[in-house]
């Protein structure tokens, strides 16, 4: 455990990856395998690190890789507040050391209709949540992405209402599949993929998986997530992957897996059926 944690932090200065990004050497040793991992073909690293929806840098998916090159991810503090007994500020490396890193190979489905398979590195978000002990009245968790227009050119415009906010219901956040993520492909996260700390919620559309998190707040009311605020008729709070509920402007029945020619059918909850019980009794056509 301690050895794995120590392995995590070495090589931090090298984490700034140039584009097109080449994987130099594996920074994480002894990554734990996870039973949640899919055996599907992993999307090439160069695609996952050069095709990014990261509006803080650019609305063009091919641009964040270049624009995020010099983004500073250390020092990096993460503030924990709201309805929680241990309000505090963590250095991101202290969060990363909280548990042994696991490799989780997840499907990742964008609301735009494309998907990738990514070997993320991290551990269950519940590890952090348990550590800071939310109060009984905490019903939701809100995640805030850094606001730093000096470093993030996209934030100099008002395409979205900055900073980017996302949120999960507490039981969703506590589900073991919900990942607190700081690496991919055995290495630390490239800046354009959400370094130094993000969440990955594989059964929801990609925009729910907030990047470059600086604040985690426990609330009693449902957070207003940025895309829901921007276009409430198009993006909901839950945003579970659902082939039966179309986006108002396009069908969600199929998806294009990057690297594949034919489209494949989209699966309910992106194929993560184990989360279905979280939504029993809920009308998922209404609670999109």
């Amino acid at each position: 455990m301690a050895g794995a944690a120590a392995a995590v932090v070495k090589g931090v200065p090298e984490l700034i990856s140039p584009t097109p990004v080449v994987l130099a050497d594996t920074k994480f040793q002894n990554l734990q395998k996870s039973s949640f991992s899919t055996t599907e073909k992993i999307t090439p690293f160069k695609d996952v690190s050069n095709y990014n929806n990261y509006y803080e840098f650019s609305t063009d998916k091919y641009e964040p890789a270049g624009l995020a090159k010099n983004f500073k991810t250390r020092p990096w503090k993460v503030k924990i507040d709201g309805h929680v007994s241990k309000k505090q500020e963590f250095q991101v490396d202290d969060i990363i050391k909280m548990a042994a890193p696991e490799e989780r190979i997840y499907r990742h489905r964008c609301v735009e209709g494309w998907s990738i398979v990514v070997p993320w590195v991290g551990f269950s978000l519940s590890v952090l949540i348990n550590k800071v002990q939310p109060l009984a009245k905490a019903k939701f968790v809100e995640f805030t992405t850094i606001y730093d227009p000096g470093q993030m050119p996209g934030q100099r415009g008002n395409v979205l209402d900055w900073p980017y906010i996302e949120g999960l219901r507490m039981d969703e956040a506590m589900h073991p599949l919900a990942l607190l993520c700081f690496g991919m492909y055995g290495d630390l996260l490239p800046n354009q993929d959400g370094a130094p700390l993000r969440i990955v919620v594989p059964w929801k559309y990609g925009f729910k998986s907030a990047k470059a998190i600086v604040r985690i707040r426990f609330t009693d009311s449902q957070p207003v997530n940025t895309w829901n605020k921007t276009a409430p008729n198009e993006y909901g709070f839950y945003s579970n992957v659902n082939p039966n509920v179309d986006h108002p402007r396009w069908s969600q029945a199929k998806e294009r897996r990057l690297g594949e020619f034919l489209k494949r059918p989209t699966l309910m909850f992106n194929g993560y059926d184990q989360v279905a019980s979280l939504y029993s009794g809920m009308d998922l056509k209404k609670n999109v």
Partner: protein
Amino acid sequence: MVRWFKPVVFLACLGPLARLAWKAYNQALGANPIEVITHSTGDWTLIFLLVTLAVTPLRKLTGQLWLIRYRRMFGLFAFFYVVLHFLTYIWLDKFFDLHEMLADIAKRKFITVGFTGFLLLIPLAVTSTSGWIRRLGKRWQRLHQLIYFSATAGVIHYWWLVKKDIHKPLEYAVVLGILLGYRLITWAVPKLRASRTRSVPARRLELPQE
């Protein structure tokens, strides 16, 4: 204009396609090649529609009459790129699934309006030959004003498609607004003038002191 100029322009108009083909051949279209092809052919359709619409105002403003000889070529290239765009959609996006396409056209307003814009261009491409121009006479000009609606539909199609960042569709909209605005002015100003010259004597009669 020099004789070699037209073939050069023709080849230049094929440039965007050549660039796409070259990139595809070298696997340099990025992580999502089909998306790049879709967007690129759509962009070039709009660009050629706007270039076509720019010919007449440019010709009138500069007095360079030879420009008119390029209008048909630009218009046909707009049609060429919209056909590629449409083929990308029915083949690479829908894989000839007719049911899905019909659902799309009926349900998604950005598809509906884009498809309408495409349909409107078909009669224009068909009647672009000298024979049809002769046969239709005055009606040819009337018919080819459909390009105003087609180009407008194309810009709306783009506008409704983007998730949030409208700056690119806005650029097209501004240029289209200028080009259509020019026509509105050149159509309306002579009419206004004519009606004013008619009304001036009448007003003088009513108000002789003025």
